[in-house]
Symmetry: C2
Subunit: 562 residues, 2 copies
């Protein structure tokens, strides 16, 4: 049972039947056909030779099939992770150099180690600290940056940078020199893909990218378009990568590289994990299955280690491929395994053809793929619902567009947490009264309620902890100062889920101050776990009043005792 959790394959392999294999195989063929152009394209996006994308689509898939917990997740190169990889490596290594490629391999290894470590420490819950608006904003902004980064291939002009601002500025001077053939090729593929998406829903539409790749390769060969200045992928070594670890012998002067590499690997890990888990959970829920986030960490970690030892790039789950895998009826992770076999066959046989693949084709494929990540209505929705959430979202988008993906995601995470702390540090509280004829108590300012003379009921609408303990002291003393005839104060605590040591001291302080002022302090609706904690302290002995089960009990007792 426990071994099965660590190695999920033990659970499903013994029950694997021929019918399962049939459905898995169909799904695997579709995934393979999608994965070939995607892996080439995302390698290009990451600034890496195209074969690196293929390498990252073999061993990682096999390892995920062994260690992953989702039956449907299709791991491999993915657009946003490719962009983040480029953003980390570009400032550190010369573009296209051996060091740059080694850098990508090291990023995959570091990311794999970090994910496995987080999985072993059961830190899967940390992914929850990326709020939905921040993730949504980050995806939208990253997609815009990715699209801008591909425009240069469509126009055949130079451009550089890893944010929208840099890309647009660097593209400016070249705009007078647009290369017509690139534009025709890329524009043609773009229109073809968009039409296919519109007119051919379902499985056939998914074949459009591979068709575009095949057609443009044939056209480029036949018309010898490279001679006319069309940029093509160029020579790719045939065969499979040797399993190896990159050489880590660095001089003391390279020591400064480790910090950005570690930070980059961490952010790639977190973003890749959050993306994968949300895909896997959405798909699992449709079949009433569940995903173990900690096991997902281990599965993704193993996949990235696999990428690292087979000369690949960082990988994670891809949305479109996973949905196809699911819709085609994949039953088990074996479908991933079959897809790895498919990519192996492609790597062994098709690499000579890929040399003539126009870069503009790949750019158009990327643009169509990431356009689906842009969710502008989410901005309006979030604005209407919650201004603080919108603020965090806008900061994420803005920083991603004008500075960098790292800055965007970090700012979003920091702001979300900061805003939550700020909100809980200034808690809501309400004087409440009895809804006539019931045992129910509500806010005097919102409902018609009965009040009890000389007894005030104050409902605290927040857990009590260090950040708001002082606010409670202030609120109580303000109430007491405003009602000289008060003899009893009941703190109604249905929303107090936690009383930490700081708040405990504040309650003692309040009790003392009220006693000095001739007011008895009572508590009501104290929850079980909080009550257990209070019993360990001297507060209950020192309390000038009583602890009631409910506000109504307090009302009955205090109303008659007067």
């Amino acid at each position: 049972m426990k071994l099965e959790r660590i190695l999920p394959i033990i659970g499903w392999l013994p029950a694997y039947r021929r019918a399962d294999a049939g459905r898995d195989l169909v799904a695997a063929v579709l995934v393979t056909v999608m994965l070939i152009p995607q892996s080439l394209a995302y390698a290009l996006l990451a600034g890496l030779p195209p074969q690196v994308g293929l390498y990252a689509s073999i061993l990682p898939l096999v390892l995920y099939a062994l260690f992953g917990s989702s039956s449907n997740l299709s791991v491999g190169p993915m657009a946003i992770v490719a962009l983040m990889t480029a953003a980390v490596l570009a400032p550190l290594f010369e573009a296209g150099s051996e060091a740059y490629i080694t850098g990508a391999i090291i990023l995959a290894l570091l990311s794999g180690l970090m994910l496995i470590l987080m999985g072993c420490m059961r830190l899967g819950f940390l992914a929850n600290f990326l709020s939905h608006p921040v993730i949504s904003g980050f995806m939208t902004a990253s997609a815009l940056v990715i699209i801008a980064s591909q425009v240069k291939h469509l126009l055949g002009i130079p451009a550089s940078g890893y944010n929208l601002l840099d890309l647009l500025v660097s593209m400016g001077p070249g705009l007078g020199n647009i290369h017509a053939l690139s534009l025709v090729t890329g524009g043609g593929v773009l229109v073809f893909l968009l039409l296919a998406r519109r007119l051919l829903p379902g499985v056939i539409g998914k074949l459009a990218p591979i068709a575009a790749v095949a057609i443009t390769i044939l056209l480029a060969r036949w018309l010898d378009l490279e001679q006319q200045g069309l940029a093509v992928v160029g020579f790719i070594p045939s065969g499979l990568p040797a399993l190896s670890l990159p050489s880590l012998s660095m001089g003391a002067s390279d020591f400064h590289l480790w910090k950005p590499m570690l930070v980059g690997a961490l952010l790639i890990s977190v973003v890749g994990f959050v993306e994968s888990v949300s895909i896997a959970q959405t798909l699992a829920a449709r079949r009433r299955q569940r995903i173990d986030p900690n096991q997902e960490l281990i599965g993704l970690g193993a996949a990235n280690l696999g990428a690292g030892v087979s000369s690949g790039m960082p990988v994670t789950g891809g949305l479109s491929r996973s949905v196809v895998n699911f819709d085609a009826g994949a039953r088990t992770p074996a479908s991933s395994f079959y897809a790895a076999v498919g990519i192996t066959a492609a790597t062994l046989t098709l690499t000579p053809l890929i040399a003539d693949l126009p870069k503009a084709t790949l750019a158009a494929t990327i643009i169509v793929a990431v356009a689906g990540l842009i969710d502008l209505p989410a901005l309006r929705r979030t604005w209407r619902y919650s201004k603080p959430d919108f603020g965090a979202m806008l900061a994420t988008i803005t920083l991603t567009l004008v500075h960098s993906v790292e800055a965007g995601i970090l700012a979003g995470m920091g702001l979300s947490i900061g805003l939550f702390l700020y909100r809980t540090s200034q808690p809501h509280s309400a004087v409440i009264g009895r809804v006539p004829g019931t045992e129910h108590f509500r806010n005097v300012e919102r409902h018609k309620v009965e009040l009890c003379p000389r007894v005030t009921f104050l409902r605290i609408d927040e857990s009590l902890y260090f950040a708001n303990a002082r606010f409670l002291e202030d609120r109580v003393m303000e109430l007491v100062a405003g009602q000289p005839e008060m003899t009893d104060l009941v703190l109604v605590c249905p929303a107090v889920n936690l009383v930490d040591a700081s708040a405990m001291e504040s309650l003692e302080t309040i009790n003392e101050r009220l006693t000095d002022a001739g007011v008895r302090l009572h508590l009501s609706d104290v929850k079980g776990p909080v009550m257990d904690q209070l019993k360990a302290t001297p507060l209950l002995e020192k309390l000038s009043g009583r602890v009631f089960l409910s506000a109504f009990d307090a009302w009955r007792a205090l109303n008659t005792s007067i």
Copy 2:
């Protein structure tokens, strides 16, 4: 009214009477007498010439009297802030050099600017993020470090460092060479001060330090103890400091100094502010007055700017002096102003005498003063009440003792916030039932309650936000999976104080999934502010069930409708 908030003196000066002046003067004399030895001692502790402590006790007091909001706070040099000043400056500048003294002045200026800025931005609430256990642990550990740092003066041996570990290790080699005269002087003063504290409670006891200073000066002069190797304070320039700004012309090579200086100034500001505010609030509460934390930021900021322009060191409110000020009956901040006049007189007349003051006397004064900050029972109290709070406290103490004050306070703050986030990210929830014969609902596992067939009541004991939204989804789907006969689920939300955009999406997801599963979703006890928010979303339209005022309303409606 508004001007009065910025310049509180406008409020009290017009009503100032002769009787007030009398009490303020008495208090000021006592504060002055305490402040002279303290300011000399804390300058020594900060590694600064003694007159810097005196300078920091003149203009800062005047400015605080103008801008501060507490009638009783006595600002000036303070032990922990002095230790932090030394810890920031020691790695950056040569001990005792001009640059070191300039560094202290710059720290005071930076700290002043930061405090005023925080006050203008109304960031006073930020101080609440230092939890009581962290503050208490930090004070205890700092006091231990301070005491260890003074032992060298008592023993007449060399020692260095700004944490307990370094101090003890560096003291080791000197232990064979203890200087008997230093030990006799320091030990004598120590015993004298401890006896005075024990036997002379009240005002007379507060005079013991100045008496010790006077007596040891006279003995040192009379017996020429400096000739016999007793370390004395040495020559102090007479007269008042000129008002000036330090020269900030630094070469490019000094650029690296700014970061530690800025971080140091920020931590000094925060610690000084938290300490001052809690002293001021405690004293204000005794007279049923209130303190405006944002105005305190401005008052303390002005005081530190004052210290910076008059060659002083960073200042903050001191506990013992403030309590004496309060007990002696100070009525208004004018008492601070009178104390400034007293220190001015002392600086002008007494400096020639201070040259013969033994350092061992000051060390003993410091030890007795900070011993009161050590609160070991707080460790046991916190351990018993809350293990997470204890963890944060222990980390603060350990890091302060073995690494540095900065590390201690930062770790404590970070851990407190992290623990709170962790706790709220894994929220408590309970299936509840009706307490028979009442309208009150409690946890089925803790109370004898009635259940309603086919209707489950789930009480959520936490605000819903991004960090726990996914937990709620899991909890609900788990419940539904375990009870196939369920037709209605009521989410009882008295403890839900906030539903952010991420949790909103989770609620929509839950509603969809339950609809698929043939279960209606209802809400009850939704609070006013949360209801206002929900109304702005499509959830209420899409909701498969209803929103009830209370769990009992839902019980009545759903029980009869079956």
